[in-house]
């Protein structure tokens, strides 16, 4: 059996673990769907532009973000429960374990956010389904990047759960605030200095939300450079997260704990 096959088996196992946490699924789905519902019923009538159309991609991207960040919780649990030692005894390299977690995180986030998208499509027709299908692999890379961030946070939080959740909240606030997920770039320009505007426009979450707005719901033709930007801003997160998690596993092997 090849290393690749073992990585896929490990990834598949972790992927299924995400969907087995039923309370988490219920909380996430209810939050995301209630967000859509509230916006549909209230904000839509208060604003002079179709905020619902603007907001639905935001909810999908937020679903991707939150589901990818759950990778960190699973890593943290695996470290706390000693499952990580079990993984390190299996016929798979330490690098393979890291890759499997990132793949699983990316895939779980993609599947979860796609389910939100499918629900949204019931009330908000997409203009270009084909564009959406093209976007999905890039969203997968983005989700792996976010899973990388989560892996790094879990490694840094060591055995303290509260630290992990605090770090996660900080990252969430920073990445979502400094993005165009919830408000257009024009609003950002009004309130933030130029260098932060640049950060916001290069934030991979902004890129993902904008891509979905333009290419899925408006139906503009896909601009390749836009997709390349998603890759370029996501891959560093994947690499840094992967290396940090690898370092954490090495630390466990040397010190016996984090």
């Amino acid at each position: 059996m090849t290393e690749l096959l073992r990585i896929l088996q490990l990834a598949g196992n972790d992927f299924s673990y995400f969907f087995r946490t039923k309370w988490l699924m219920a909380v996430l789905l209810s939050l995301n769907l209630s967000d859509m519902l509230v916006v549909a019923l209230v904000y839509h009538r208060l604003m002079d532009f179709n905020y619902f159309q603007f907001f639905v991609p935001a909810v999908v991207v937020m679903g991707l973000f939150v589901a990818a960040l759950d990778t960190g919780r699973r890593i943290w649990l695996a470290i706390r429960e000693g499952v990580i030692q079990y993984y390190l005894s299996l016929p798979i390299s330490t690098k393979g374990v890291v890759i499997a977690y990132l793949l699983a995180g990316g895939l779980a986030a993609l599947v979860y956010s796609s389910s939100l998208l499918l629900i949204a499509l019931l009330v908000l027709p997409a203009h270009a389904i084909w564009n959406t299908l093209v976007l999905l692999p890039f969203f997968f890379v983005l989700a792996m990047g976010l899973a990388g961030i989560a892996a790094a946070l879990a490694a840094l939080a060591s055995t303290h759960a509260e630290f992990y959740f605090a770090y996660q909240q900080i990252v969430q606030v920073v990445l979502l605030t400094l993005s165009t997920v919830f408000y257009p770039i024009a609003v950002v320009r009004q309130y933030l200095p130029p260098f932060l505007v640049s950060v916001v426009s290069h934030n991979p979450l902004s890129l993902a939300a904008e891509a979905m707005r333009q290419y899925t719901f408006v139906g503009d033709p896909i601009q390749p450079w836009f997709l390349v930007n998603i890759l370029l801003t996501s891959i560093p997160f994947t690499i840094v997260g992967g290396l940090t998690y690898f370092w954490a596993l090495r630390t466990i092997q040397v010190k016996g704990k984090l």
Partner: protein, 319 residues
Amino acid sequence: MYAVETQNLIKRYGKTHALKGLDFTVNPKEIMVLLGPNGSGKTTLLLILATILKPTSGTAKVMGLDVAKQPTKIRQILGISFQEARGFWRHKPAEILHFHAAICGVPKSERGAKIEEIMKGLELWEARNKLFMHLSGGQTKRLEVSKLLIQRPRFAIFDEPSSQVDLRGKRKIWGEIHKLRDEGSTILVATNEVREAEYLADKVTVLDQGKSVVCDTVRNLKDKIAGGDVVELLLEPGPNNTEELREELSMIEGTVNLVVAGENQYRAHVSMAEAWVPKMTSLCYERKARLLSVRVTEPSLDDVFLHFTGKVLETTTNA
């Protein structure tokens, strides 16, 4: 070639020395039992051999492969059953075993039948629909052992394989470990349960404070204790049962100590009772002293541990 060999193996956790220059070997296809109290370095040694921990210095080899340099290759031939069961909280036992079997390369066509057979054998079948987090301590332990019984690795490591398991379950687990050895696996078992060690061991290594104190078969270890066997004699009252006879008994080769334990009763501490008793019966026959009963008690591994380390071995099942 040894199946397992360590040379001057050192493992430190900060200022704590878990292993202090351990030299240790295991022959292929034998069950080596590591006996030692908590903190003696047993689990650390197992985790190093399983490539989960890296040694601070020294070398450790499994089937000729270096644990520090070739961990992934070693992982392809070994399996470990942890002291505390490692499972996925929201998976069912059969799912955990399917995952383990798949990643360890058990052919898909054999998995289902093997898993069912092992689960039934270890009385886990009834719990097949429970989530791991709802299993009892004994059930999680059986599940942990089941992983290796399905995998059947060339080198199997069991860390306290029957702790938290009831007596019947212990017997089953021990029987399965013997079967695994008989099929050609090399097995390393860490325990602080004397009965488990006596039942399983082809050889025992006594570990204390990160060092190997002694290594031999159970029989030889017991024989190494001078005066370890206790022989209690009850003689028929009579004129030949004299002080002279007592002195002659105490002169038999192998007698370490002989005391009067009561009227017509003696207690002798001897080395190798199996050689001492025939000599004693001959002597009594010659002196026309009639033996009413002979009771031989051999030393336990507790006594062995005490003899070689000067300490009492903890024998709590859950330690």
